[in-house]
Symmetry: C2
Subunit: 477 residues, 2 copies
């Protein structure tokens, strides 16, 4: 990855300069988390950690960067010298990519010198918000596709090159099985997919000639696009003619793609014609502005579709194009004294959870069935406990305190190795995600109106939060 | 710009390989245009041409790319050798960046060897769709801000690094005046803006101390964030205390920023307090999830706001996050014989306009008041004409033929110099956009329910379209 150290908001540098001078020995912990799930779902699929690691490995400031800073004239030479010799000493904890993560749970924490930890905010949010957004959308589409493969087709409608490249990576993490994007396929080892566009058909005198030329050129990769003129009266009969010629020459056709029209009716008629012509194995691919609602409707109508090519609705998460992850100060530490921090707001909903924390997934003991998550201070011992009083972490929940019994807890946040030069494959991450989804209640994975999955905090954490809130309220009188 | 030659859909390569072998002497013209305007507006602001030029200047395939292609095993060695020695010979015509462009008008055309022109599709669409989308959104926000500056604040919510970097460029083209994004500011010469985050306040024992430390560090850049605890009862009184101390020390405060709450009420109360305290020049900046509707409402309510910081709603065009530009074959040419092409579809709305074309803006003669655009074949002479029969280019319009008199036409598509190493500044592009907007009817610039601006085509073009449609319809019987 290229050097993205300047991809940050100006105020991060201004605050970093201030912290560097005014609080030089203060360390801090920041939490990266979100409050609202895109598309009113109940969880997000964490993604982007690999690119965070690569970006941090490239944390440095060039002479040109420093010249630009001097031109801005905002920060002094001592701080610029610190940047010129920048050495990141922060430590990160993160959820492994592909982990389903619920609101308010830190999916990444940064601990280190206050000025450094502050400086990372914008870049980390940019990368994690983007990839987690697209992985989350891909999970939704996979759920709606009910086991049939999803091909990522969105490069032309993505929000710039990285949106296509890293969006494709995230789409595979969330469940897509292939992509049309050659660069992303090469870079991340993703199967690459695609057939012809309408321009292929139009460049030849007629559709049958265009199909024949294609089959001649790619006899074992002949997926034909049948909707340039008229699917049922032209495209499909011409495709079947060519399929018969292919078979006579010893090749089996791949199938057809339909990119417009009423997909249920067309796929049903196409399936019938292909079967009748002796091509029951020819696949039908659909690629017309698909989203979760359309996939669900196609499934209910029994449309005989084998593959879905999904473009803009996946690569931009068009129905919900922003993951509003935030990066909030959770604690400062100076001379061994830890001061937990909260952020209050006019809206109680935005109250943050203080302190250095760990996230646990809670299972019914001896099973792989998770029923809730728990946020605790890192200083608390949770693993091994089987009974616990907990408090709902949702600041607007009514029924807050709960007794949990007969559970086992597994911690989710892991130390990040910033020196690693190897990357986990996207397929492994996808498999990890699927394994974790299998442990979550089905009702919370529903696409519409999902059941809320409880995210608790320990009573210690709850008391700490209340205490800090009281201090602030008293203080502001 | 890095090498993005692989940022393309697989099928572009598969078609290119086929065209290279099967239609080796065929040239083609493709048009890049769109049909629907984001946010139901009436036009798009063209952007991205500079990055198209840079990407095409880097069109080459590395040994690693070729090794990957061999591993895919889809295309033969002769084609791979052509790619290894790739030399782009296509010619481009484009609207200058910042030009308001209407549906169906080519904003970029590519003419050259069919296989090359095909190969460019995905990358060109990716870049132009993205930047034009964000420039269009920025124009809308600027319209709603009615002359008050817009600061681009969206890096953390952008769809990956490029979405932040090039999205910021596009935001300035469309009307933003500054950005918080340091990398984009440095790269494109954009004024950089920003003050503190809540974490600055929280890192100190109390708000007043945090403000004092900031004012001490940045006495001439003291814009204070006043909503960490309570705007009217804490943030503002503390800010005024520090502003008085600053003034006593010979510095004038910049102002305050409010990031939450009811912005109208808070800004009115803040203005009153600041004025009463003797700081009528202290600016009020707002940065809380703003969009066109909120800006318009704030204006109607008379909220005394000086600057708007706009994040996710601008950098992702969240309310309408996709510009659906397409790239369609308009003509082929072989041995001097030009064959215009159209793409038909089940929906008449998607009928394309054939041939090599120019776009003209039509003015009431002797004025700078544009009233319509006109699409013509490049072989037609339009400039100098003052009377013309034209046809509405919208394939679903009812009242199609019109007589135009007493107008003058100015051509919009210009040849693109692919060898240029200089870039027009974003400020120049923004000024160019504003000059062109001033020529368009106000009613078509409305944010809600804008008047349709007519886009005509010549009768020659209309007849050609009808003729090709008839041929295709006859052929498909």
């Amino acid at each position: 990855m290229r050097n993205l150290s300047l991809l940050t908001d100006l105020y991060e540098f201004s605050m970093a300069n201030g912290f560097y001078h005014d609080l030089p020995t203060t360390n801090a912990t920041f939490d990266l988390f979100y409050r609202r799930v895109p598309d009113n779902g109940s969880f997000v699929i964490a993604a982007g950690l690999q690119q965070v690691i690569e970006a941090l490995q490239n944390s440095q400031f060039s002479d040109a960067d420093l010249a630009y800073f001097r031109q801005l004239g905002l920060w002094d030479e001592q701080f610029l010298t610190e940047l010129a010799n920048f050495k990141l000493t922060c430590e990160l904890q993160a959820l492994p990519e592909g982990t389903p993560v619920f609101p308010r749970e830190p999916l990444l924490t940064v601990t280190g010198p206050l000025y450094q930890a502050q400086l990372l905010e914008t870049l980390l949010l940019n990368i994690v918000n983007h990839q987690s957004l697209i992985a989350t959308k891909a999970r939704r589409l996979s759920e709606a596709a009910a086991g049939r493969p999803i091909m990522e087709f969105g490069a032309r409608r993505a929000q710039g090159p990285d949106s296509a490249i890293y969006g494709t990576r995230a789409a595979v993490i969330g469940g897509a099985s292939s992509t049309s994007n050659v660069l992303a396929a090469k870079q991340f080892g993703i199967p690459v997919a695609g057939t012809m566009a309408h321009s292929w058909i139009e460049a030849f005198p007629d559709e049958l000639t265009a199909f024949r030329q294609w089959a001649n050129r790619y006899p074992d990769n002949s997926a034909l696009l049948v909707d340039t003129y008229d699917v049922l009266n032209s495209g499909l009969p011409n495709a079947i003619t060519v399929f018969k010629e292919l078979r006579a020459a010893g090749h089996e056709p791949v199938g057809i793609r339909i990119d417009s029209g009423d997909v249920t009716r067309l796929s049903q008629a196409a399936r019938a014609q292909l079967d009748e012509a002796g091509f029951p194995d020819a696949k039908i691919t659909i690629s017309n502005a698909l989203d979760e609602a359309i996939l669900t409707s196609l499934r209910h109508e029994g449309a005989p579709i084998d593959n879905f090519g999904i473009g803009e609705k996946l690569i931009t998460s068009a129905s919900s194009p922003v993951l509003s992850g935030v990066y909030k100060l959770a604690a400062t530490e100076q001379d061994g004294n830890i001061a937990p921090k909260i952020k209050v707001s006019a809206s109680r909903e935005k109250l943050t959870i203080p302190g250095q924390k760990q996230v646990y997934r809670l299972y019914h003991r001896g099973t792989q069935r998770a029923f809730a998550d728990l946020i605790a201070l890192t200083s608390e011992t949770i693993v091994g406990q089987t009974e616990l009083t907990v408090v709902n972490s949702d600041p607007v929940s009514v029924d807050r305190e709960q007794q949990l019994t007969n559970f086992e807890a597994r911690s989710l946040l892991e130390p990040v190795d910033l020196t690693t030069t190897s990357a986990v494959s996207v397929q492994t991450i996808q498999a990890n995600m699927q394994a974790q989804l299998a442990e979550l209640p089905r009702a919370t994975q529903r696409l519409v109106n999902p059941d809320t999955y409880p995210v608790y905090m320990t009573t210690t954490l709850s008391h700490l939060q209340s205490e800090l809130l009281t201090q602030l309220t008293v203080g502001s009188d």
